[in-house]
Symmetry: C2
Subunit: 329 residues, 2 copies
């Protein structure tokens, strides 16, 4: 195309007061109504942020440099922008929007940057940890639908750190996956496996995000937890974690993942359980009843929540595939 021939709303003589409407106007050439709406809100908030803070050139330049360094440190195994999204609470919001939970279902929480696709498939009772320094833990759980029916054949992806607070991928010299397993629930919706008691650990804090936390006087620690991801045809993916009560970081998680309903008290394996599950008496015991939500329930709830949120905003929008776009009719 000859760009000078594109029909464009005339934009000239811009001031701090009229630039927002003019940038939105020129962006409205976009053919994708959803992208147009996302950009409209992005530009509005970006501009309001600068106007409300009276952002100085030096601060703006510090921001440019921060974003540049954040991009530079990213590699195939390190995503500093996701970490930034996590510590600013954005990741939790996006998860809440995409995976809303009705009452009496298990809440989701942040995925974090350490999920991999190389976890070995395990059978009931196997040990996911090879860490001899960890405190032995028996995990006995079940998974149901909201009506209380056990769900058979749910694929459950589990991952945790070793006893030093590092995921397997954080060890440069690792020989293979550790602290990970993928297991299927049985006909009673049950699944059980051996692991180690989770420990608290810091998120990677030797980069720009770590420096930001330091300036904010925030610590980089996450409370002890174990990750669970549930998949079954017809049900919304559930990405969640269980947290240990009374962890020193229980109320100050660096990535805002803790929810009351996901905090558990560990028990101890008694002699009957020890015999049944083949683990030493006195080992730690973690139990939980997970509840999945159907795809249909989730998508209805997502659309309903969108409608409510946009009504608050007083904007004329339509909801298409659960996502709002401007309503021009």
């Amino acid at each position: 195309m000859d760009p000078s021939q594109v029909k464009i709303p005339p934009v000239k003589d811009l001031t701090i007061d009229n630039i927002t409407e003019n940038v939105i106007l020129i962006n409205s050439l976009c053919k994708d109504p959803r992208m147009k709406y996302v950009l409209e809100r992005l530009v509005t908030h970006l501009h309001d942020f600068a106007r409300e803070t009276r952002l100085s050139s030096n601060e703006w330049m510090a921001g440019i440099n921060f974003l540049t360094e954040t991009g530079k440190i990213c590699t195939d195994v390190r995503q500093e922008f996701i970490l930034l999204s996590d510590v600013l609470g954005l990741s939790l919001i996006v998860d809440s929007i995409d995976h809303p939970k009705p009452p009496n279902s298990t809440e989701g929480t942040v995925l974090g940057p350490f999920h991999t696709h190389e976890a070995p498939t395990i059978t009931q009772g196997e040990d996911i940890s090879h860490d001899a320094d960890g405190e032995p833990l028996l995990v006995v759980c079940n998974v149901k639908d909201r009506a209380g029916n056990p769900l058979n054949g749910v694929k459950i992806d589990i991952w945790e750190t070793d006893s030093s607070g590092h995921y397997d991928v954080q060890h440069a010299d690792r020989s293979g996956p550790d602290g990970r397993g993928v297991i299927l629930s049985d006909e009673n919706g049950e699944f059980w496996f051996k692991a180690i008691k989770p420990v608290p650990y810091p998120i990677p804090h030797d980069g720009p995000v770590g420096k930001l936390l330091e300036k904010l006087h925030r610590h980089p620690y996450r409370p002890s937890h174990m990750h669970f991801m549930f998949e079954k045809e017809g049900y919304d993916h559930l990405i969640t974690s269980l947290y240990l009560r009374n962890d020193p970081y229980e109320t100050s998680d660096a990535v805002f993942g803790v929810k009351n309903t996901l905090v558990v008290d560990l028990g101890k394996v008694d002699s009957a359980l020890a015999a049944k599950y083949g683990i030493a008496e006195g080992s730690w015991l973690m139990t939980y009843d997970f509840v999945l939500v159907t795809d249909m329930e989730t998508s209805e709830l997502r659309a309903y929540n969108s409608q409510m949120a946009l009504e608050k905003l007083g904007r004329k929008v339509r909801i298409v595939n659960g996502l709002p776009i401007p309503d021009l009719d």
Copy 2:
């Protein structure tokens, strides 16, 4: 420090509705009141953006990838985040905040990414361009204060592209600076030099920002212009440009730099001027009267504008060094 001992407001059981106040609460540990305020507004707008768009996980991930690519493409001579700030209109806002202009003074505009510190010092009448393909241009200007007094010894940094629309630094095989000069105004506030008629050109559009513009159906062109930067002790830096009237991109500048008062009509050099300035009769002629603002006027106006903007917001803040911080008294 032992991070578990830091006194932290308890943060737990976060939802999409209460996370913003909780992230702000934990960030309020920050000892720098200005940074605390900037982060408070950043978190508020970031969260509202996600809530109002109902940002999906896929869109969030697309954003993460876009920012990562934008960081990756940055080099010592390419700053893609500044380009992003330019095409989103943010750069213009920051310039307006930091360098507010009272009536009867020359307006500023975007610096752009092509200013360098290697321009040669030139004397009155010298030619800043070595491009034989450019159309010869005589520039005759003066610079005054707001009372109309000529300003002597103002340092004026000038830069423009060659006739192909490229700055010198964009040519990998360049032998030295071209299209640049630093000149001093004389005792009458006057300065004149030879150059070439500016031409329109595209901003670098082979990276993430170019892809974004394409998706938005926006062209990457800037209208023909020449950059000027003025420095004199006691006066606010003036970063501005002169634009040629009737340029095809005059009303659709990709970086929103054009202002009515900075658009000029080129004239033609007559025989008298040709003899006086030693340039061929019929060459292009550009004239302009620049007006600088004192540091004191600027800083008073900046503080006043901040006060007005924050009153609109209904926030209790104090203005310190022209910048707002929360007022806790």
